[in-house]
Amino acid sequence: MKINMEQFRSAFFTEATEHLANMESGLLQLEHAPDDLDLLNSIFRGAHTIKGAAGTFGFPDVAHFTHDLENVLDQMREGSVQPNADLIEVLLRNVDTLGTLLECAKTGDAPPDCVSRVQQQLKGLLTLKPDDVPVKANISSAAGRSVRSYRVRFVPDRELFLQGSEPLLLLRELADLGEITETQVNTSALPPLAEMNPEICYLSWTLLLHTNVSQREIQDVFGFVSDTSLVEIVHVSQEISATVDDLDHKTTMSIANESDIATSTASIVATSGVDARLVVDEAERRNESERRVSSRRVNDRSVEQETVRVDCHRLDNLINVIGELVISGAMVEMEFAEWQKQSGHESQSLAHLSKTVRDLQELSLSLRMVPIAVTFQKMTRIVHDLARQLGKQIHFETEGEETELDKTVVDQIGDPLMHMVRNAADHGIETPDERIAAGKPAEGQITLRAFHQGGNIYIELKDDGRGLDRQVIRSKAIERQLIREEDNLSNQEIDNLIFVPGFSTAKQITDVSGRGVGMDVVRRNVEALQGSVSIQSEMGRGSTVTIRLPLTLAIMDGLSIGLSDDVYILPLLSVVESFRPEPQEIKRVATKGEVVVVRGEIVPLLRVYRLLNVAARVTEPSEGIVVIVENQGKKCALLVDELLGQSQVVIKNLETNFHKVAGIAGATILGDGRVAMILDIFGLMRLASNSYVDGSRPVEEKPTPTLKLTGASA
């Protein structure tokens, strides 16, 4: 029973968080469209649902706080309060505080002091309005809204209490919506006292509610119990409402008003044992009611959005197991092919199985895909806050929020994106005066865009601000000894220096962001997700930062290459071409090592076996194969023994049981059960450039164990 409760609570928190996110995005949109009533209604609904559920689940702090918020929103709906930037600001802060409160309720911590301050502020908003009268009274007097009558029949699930719900709270909430003129409680299901189980809800109610809210909102009151309980809401006209009690309930009792329900319930419970009349044809009624409940449940399922919340770990386990299945399948396939060759037997059944397994894998991977919208929405808020804080005018636009990414990526891309957005708002976009002086519109423009391209996801952040100052970057990089005075760098290379660790051009680090500080963090985070980041910038015109991310972290197309007896995998996406070079195509450049000339283009040659410190059969490039690979706009040629083929590989993280290894992106398991290393192109390039700068390869500084333990047991 306790577990049950926990389950419902966690569902409440998840849903409340979603409502909060919707409210936040709604408020941000409202700023630009203050007259959008639908928007306002949806924000109100969010607050309302949270309030109701918080009350039901026993979080009075949350419920009270939301109540005030709801009141302000309600006034906005009625038009007595006009939404403006300041009001929305306050409301946004309220939404934040509500989030904090929910967090506190979740962990059981005491809410922080700031809550009461924000609440006061909100109350201030309320009292500002002279026409503020109790919500109830407002409802019947609200102009332009007709008061309608609904007959609400509520037959709670018999196990309602076990779910942590309390019908009294729901009925009270219902009373908040309008005026309840009639209340009937049906006690027919009550068993004799001796047979009564105090944890079972035997009662049901029929109410007549006069209200100006929509049927949908009445339905919302029962949002958390509608799955299991029967709720009927029938619109009745004024004339026939008097006949509400012509229902065949011989045993119903009329109760004057809702606050009496609790006491009445108690008295019924106390007296029901002696009142034999109550149990007459009880069984029949219950049957009928159950039939209705079940038909209602079926209906619910088909109407509601069909989603199932699944624990992430379970999903990961499923994907892992399916990954295993793919590997085992490949092994079986190999053995089967061998057997077929020997026996001359022909069969297609294994091919069918393989295809099904592949489909299954694809399907399982798609389970983890979620739209990036949530992350983008956070950015909207950040820009909004920053613009206010910095006194800038920024128009923020997002595109492609529906682009789907692996959940891990969506979760982890938030931080780097935030850094980028902050940088763009703080350093990119100028103040309105500066912009006008530069002949640009006062309002700056930042666009965040996500899109698919060639098996990758791109996230692009574009601003029309001042752009990067290459002179400053260059001199800073020289000063920091990141580059040398005589180094001849392309514009793009200079721009990308801002991603180098330890680079910062900020003369003063503002509390918002230090320029360049964080950009290396951005790169590190993105690389951890097997992606890359680059920047294009034009002085005075703005910059565009582009993040490239793999579609999924779990699987990739690989090119198998051989070095000595071992197999390595190259990410196929990075491979441009491969060929056996003629001896004259290989040139030694005095200080820059070896290069390959590919159709006039000079590409540095990296000997993979040297960088990785492993054995290889081929040391003469013209006897092996060079694979031209590209990473972040830079090409290099990798010398390998041979090409073995192309395959889809399931990426296994080396960090799971070991730690990160330079030049290696991960491992995978081949069809024959062997483990193969997946090469990290960027890591290899970095290994190569380190060995060039240091004059020695770092791999030679390999630590050797010098432990002496041989005498330990002597």
Partner: protein, 167 residues
């Protein structure tokens, strides 16, 4: 459950506990070592290992353990003993270190030993040149002296310890 916790605690602080414990003992050269049995996941015959480039010499590589990529440490190399050709007696003891799984290559597995508290001794000071940081203690059973190993230190999961163990 409680026993498991207790043993983990003990291995964490490297102290010999109050009461005894079970150890899996194995051979390296002509010496006998023991590791806590609760940390042993399984014992496997030697199978194909893929080398990990740019890794310390005692990391022999990684092995496919039913789909998991598990690093393999050669304890002979780690303890600076002469390396030996792997043969059909060579075994890999798969142990768990925190959330990680790794394999230890040893010459042969001997037996499972109950070591009472009175049979365990603190690691003696073996003087300069002998690193005792990954020893829990020494167990005496009859004529045998068994060096009890602290797997967490040995595997260098404790990041602050790792460099000193490796270097």
């Amino acid at each position: 459950m409680s026993q498991n916790n207790k043993s983990t605690d003990r291995s964490m602080n490297g102290q010999v506990g109050e009461d005894g414990n079970q150890f899996l003992t194995f051979q390296l050269q002509d010496e006998e070592y023991g590791i806590e049995i609760l940390r042993v996941q399984e014992i496997k015959g030697f199978s194909r290992i893929t080398p990990i480039p740019n890794s310390p010499r005692y990391i022999k590589g990684v092995m496919n353990l039913r789909g998991a990529v598990v690093p393999i440490v050669d304890l002979r190399v780690k303890f600076n003993l002469p390396e030996m050709e792997y043969n059909r007696f060579t075994v890999i003891i798969v142990v768990t270190v925190g959330a990680k799984v790794m394999g230890l290559v040893v010459d042969a597995v001997s037996d499972v030993l109950n070591v009472g508290a009175n049979e365990m001794e603190e690691t003696p000071d073996l003087g300069e040149g002998v690193d005792t940081s990954f020893m829990t203690g020494i167990a005496k059973t009859g004529e045998r002296l068994i060096t009890l190993l602290n797997i967490d230190k040995l595997a260098g999961t404790d990041e602050s310890v790792a460099p000193s163990v490796v270097a």
